[in-house]
Each structure stands twice: as structure tokens, then as C-alpha cells.
Amino acid sequence: MTGLLTAVMTLLRRDLILALRRRQDALVVLGFFVVVVSLFPLGVGPDPQLLRSMAPGVLWVSALLATMLSLERLFADDFRDGSLEQILLAPQPLSLLVVSKILAHWLVTGLPLVLASPLLGMQLGLNGTEILTLMGALLLGTPILSLVGAIGAALTLGLRGGGVLISLLILPLYVPALVLGAGALDAVMYGSSAQAHLSLLASLLIVTLLLAPWAIAAALRIMLD
């Protein structure tokens, strides 16, 4: 048991240290999110009412696309240098080691999106409660994006043009998170409660957390066979 904990913590620490020493990867994701959201007012015009009504969709779609950018490298670096083989050979359950890699991915790419979202929400004219709802929904939703995205990253490991393939595989699977996440914000904007959406989003997160690691572990074993 302690061996498992050590392994999981070590892998998490390793990925965080690597992310710190290669900061551009995380910054690209955050930068993309900020730039894409900021482009909308320029494209559709500065009408505050229009921007407000578009805000949920714009913020969520940008978050999805920003996450996609980072997925290709989730396992590819470890695959290329042989570390992934050593991770597969570790005497610990692969699905748990995978969870710690995804947690690191979320901390590096998902959490910054959540933290940057209030600023972008203000830019699109959201008020205080709406921004809180947005952050809550992103906090529940971005881990789903990392978990589901990791399935795609594992399935396209070592394939040519893997990045495009991940998008095609994974974007349809992001629809439930998108609908619930944007729906939560919509509900608050039209004066009802976001509780239903957030509860559903939370249950979606739990289901994904239970199922995705097995799928990812199986995909990795197949792709390395």
C-alpha cells in the first residue's frame, strides 16, 4: 500500500516538476484560452447584451479547444523516451498510475483555465454570481476534459497525425460536459438555479473518474503491444 502511494505521488511530482521546467506547454494552453475568448468581442462587435448571451458557449468551447491542444503530449513524451514502458512494468495498478498522470495534467492545464475564467467572464459582461457559477462548472468540468481526453491520447499513441485524430475522437465525447457546463451558466443568467446542471456535471465527473482510468490503461497496453 505504501509502495502504491509512493509510486503515485512520485509520478505526480515528476510530471509537475517536468511541467515547471517546460513552462511553455502550460502557458500555450492558457494563452490560447485567453486569446480565443478575447477574439469574440472583436469579431461579433462590442454589444454587451449579445456578448453576455454568447458567454457560456464561447467560454466552454474555448476551454474544450484549449484542452485539446495539450492532450497530444500527455503520453507521447513518455512513449517516445521509453518511460511509458517502465510505467507499464511497475508492479502497481496501471489505472492508478494513469490517474496521477491525469491529475498532474489537470493541475497544469485545467486549473489555470478555471483560475483565468473570472477575468474572461468579466470581459464578456458576466456579473458576480454568474462568474462563480462559471468557475464552479469549470472546476467540475475540466477534470472530465482531462480524463476523457486521455482516452483519446492513449488510443492515438504513436500514430501519425495523432493530434487531429484525438480531436475527431474526443470532441464528440465532450458534448455532455459542454452542454451541462454551459447550461449551468445559462440557467443562472436566466434567473433559475444552476444546481441541477452542476449536480449532473458532478455525477458525470464521478462516472468518468471511475471508468476512464480502466479504458486508458487498456488502451495503453494495446498501443504498446
Binding site: 509502495g3 509512493t6 509510486a7 512520485t10 509520478l11 515528476r14 516538476i17 517536468l18 521546467r21 517546460r22 517516445r80 523516451d81 521509453g82 518511460s83 514502458e85 517502465q86 510505467i87 507499464l88 512494468l89 511497475a90 508492479p91 502497481q92 498510475l97 504498446l224 503491444d225
Partner: protein
Amino acid sequence: MCHTAHAVFPAHRLEVEGLVAERGERLLIRRLDLTLESGSLLQVAGRNGAGKTSLLRMLCGLSRPLEGRICWDGVPLHQREDGPTAHLAYLGHANALKDELSAEENLHIHSALQGSRPEQEAIRAALGRMGLVGHEDLPVKCLSQGQKRRVALARLLLVRRPLWVLDEPFAALDVQIIDVLRSALEAHLAANGMIVLTTHQAVPITGRQHTLTLGKAP
């Protein structure tokens, strides 16, 4: 030469029964049977593309054979209670090192992943034995190809496993380190360990050994 660990492994058996493997449409290995006892070395020979690496990966449980089974102490790899790979250390073509981390950090992470928690002295001793004194704190990307290989080899000394599976362990090493590695291999055999390796260079190793040549005409 310092030999620190002199604990002896208990007797084990590695058995391969009726192994068949293919790559693409081509039959790579047809019906391979072999048994390896503790304290002996198996050298896998054969031309390029004969399936040496594939065989090694199957012995590690990284890929599954088309037919046949691989047993450790009589139990098929994928039915073992402590996981299919808890008894072995694998060194593949790639060094499995992170360029941004130092040699010491790399070794520390590796051994924690493999379930052991060595002290810093043990890590430094393993690196020292591979002739990397003074390079412990450098990011691995600053090391030469041969030095990276030595860091990868230091992993074997650190994580104590009875079976070593080594793919081209002598590649990119200079003469002096080949000697160090050879003595490490001999010490492992003397401690009742088991080694399966592929190599293009003939490196004389004292100890019980067998050669398996793949891809011979039947």
C-alpha cells in the same frame, strides 16, 4: 571494484512453452520452448528483424504472444499475484530517462515507481559504479549518449530483481564501462540472478550461459 549487495536470490525458473509470435503477417517465432534456471544467462542472437526485441518484450509481459505461455516459477505471467512484472528489470532500446531531470532524480523516480525507496547514498553509489561521479546533478540532456545509457544501466543495480531483461546493453558504451557492466552481470549471476540479453558484440561473461539463435532456417 566494490560489490555492495551480496544477498543471494532464491531459486527461480523462467519457462517459455510453445511460444508463437508474428509481426504483421509474418511468422516471427514458431514454437519456441526454453527454460532458464537461476544463475544462468541467455543470450538471444539473430540477425536484424529476427524478433529478438519482440521476444524480450514478451518475456516482460509488455506484449502478448500469439500462442504459448511464459511462466515464472510455474505461474503464467498474467496470472501472477504480485503483477506480471514484479520479478524483472527491463532495459529497452530507449533509455527511459527524462531529459529535464538530473541522473539522480531519474533514478529516484524510477525506483519509487518500481516500489523500492533507496537512499541517496545508494543512488550515488550506483551512479558512481557506472563512472558517473560528478554528473549526478546535471540534467540528463547535458550527458552524452553513452553516459545516458550508463544512467539507465545504473537502474538495474538499484532495483533488486532476480531477472534482468536487457536489450543491447553494450551499445554505445566505451571499453572501460563495458568491463564494469560485465562485472555487474557476473555479480548478478553469482547472486543467483537470471539474465536474458541481446547483443551484437561478443562479450565474454563467466557463468552458466546459453545462446538462442532466432530466425534460423528450420
